[in-house]
Amino acid sequence: MGSEFTFYDYFDADGGGDNVIKSWLNGEGKPAKAYFTMLIPRLEASPPPSFKDSVWGGKHTKFMKNKKGKWYGFIELRKLGKVQFRLIAQMQGRSVFLVACGIHKGHKYDTDVSSQTALSRVTQMINNPARYRREHEYD
């Protein structure tokens, strides 16, 4: 059996021309880079969330639904601690689109994009994959 899922990073083709997720993991999110490097291949190998022996769900991958439903359908990959590191993703079929990233300090949730932008990024990645998405990069 091979991979169950493929992770993709958002590529900012219209802005800085860089892989947004990769840049974050090598910058602000660097303390969590090793964690996500170990987490993502395991999620890729795990059966979908509806299967009983899936490792999706739990404290490391939270399915988001806030009061206003703004983030409905999105998933947070989380490294918990005093400072929490989060990657925001959306799962569509066997693809997982990593679209935003940020840190959480106390009550402040600091992501660099709003839910609307995140949704727009997912749409871009689906409609024009060659331009807006890259298979998740580990360097």
Partner: protein, 161 residues
């Protein structure tokens, strides 16, 4: 375009990243294996705790990738409870990278001795009836183990499948 394995190798040039990777490989890897093995063997956290004569919240903590305080004694007890082998060894980073980038759900939650034995008996019986088909039987054994691992085990999974 370089492969994912080569990409991870590039990251390893940072000594701090190598140190963190050792921690996270154990923290994330063990937590996921406990959760997946428990699910594969249809054990609740409470049942596993009962087998190990510990309290259920400790099992919950072990399944959290941020826990990171496993002892060798804990790992040995868990391997015995799950009836699976346990390898604790030092390896070159290239081995760790290859292992990580080629994970499958059967590697994360390996079959117990009983499950392996069942398929071994099936394969042996099949080989005895037709010794010329030994090689084919090995393939059948592998396919059967994978089929078992991926077979829907709950009503919800049946719907999904």
């Amino acid at each position: 375009m370089i492969s994912k394995t080569e990409q991870m190798w590039e990251s390893l040039h940072d000594p701090e990243f190598r140190k963190q990777l050792i921690d996270e490989h154990v923290n994330v890897g063990i937590a996921f294996q406990i959760r997946s093995l428990r699910d594969r063997q249809k054990l609740t956290q409470a049942k596993l705790a009962e087998l190990l004569k510990i309290r259920q919240p400790l099992v919950s903590a072990w399944e959290n990738p941020n826990y990171g305080k496993y002892t060798l004694g804990t790992l040995k007890d868990l391997a015995k409870a799950f009836d699976v082998g346990l390898l604790v060894r030092f390896v070159p980073f290239s081995t760790l990278v290859d292992w990580t980038m080629n994970l499958t759900s059967d590697v994360i939650a390996p079959p117990s001795f009983g499950e392996e034995e069942y398929y071994h008996v099936v394969a042996s019986a099949s080989a005895a009836s037709n010794p010329m088909e030994d090689r084919r039987d090995v393939n059948i054994l592998t396919a059967d183990i994978e089929a078992y691992a991926y077979a829907p085990k709950t009503k919800k999974e049946l719907v999904h499948a």
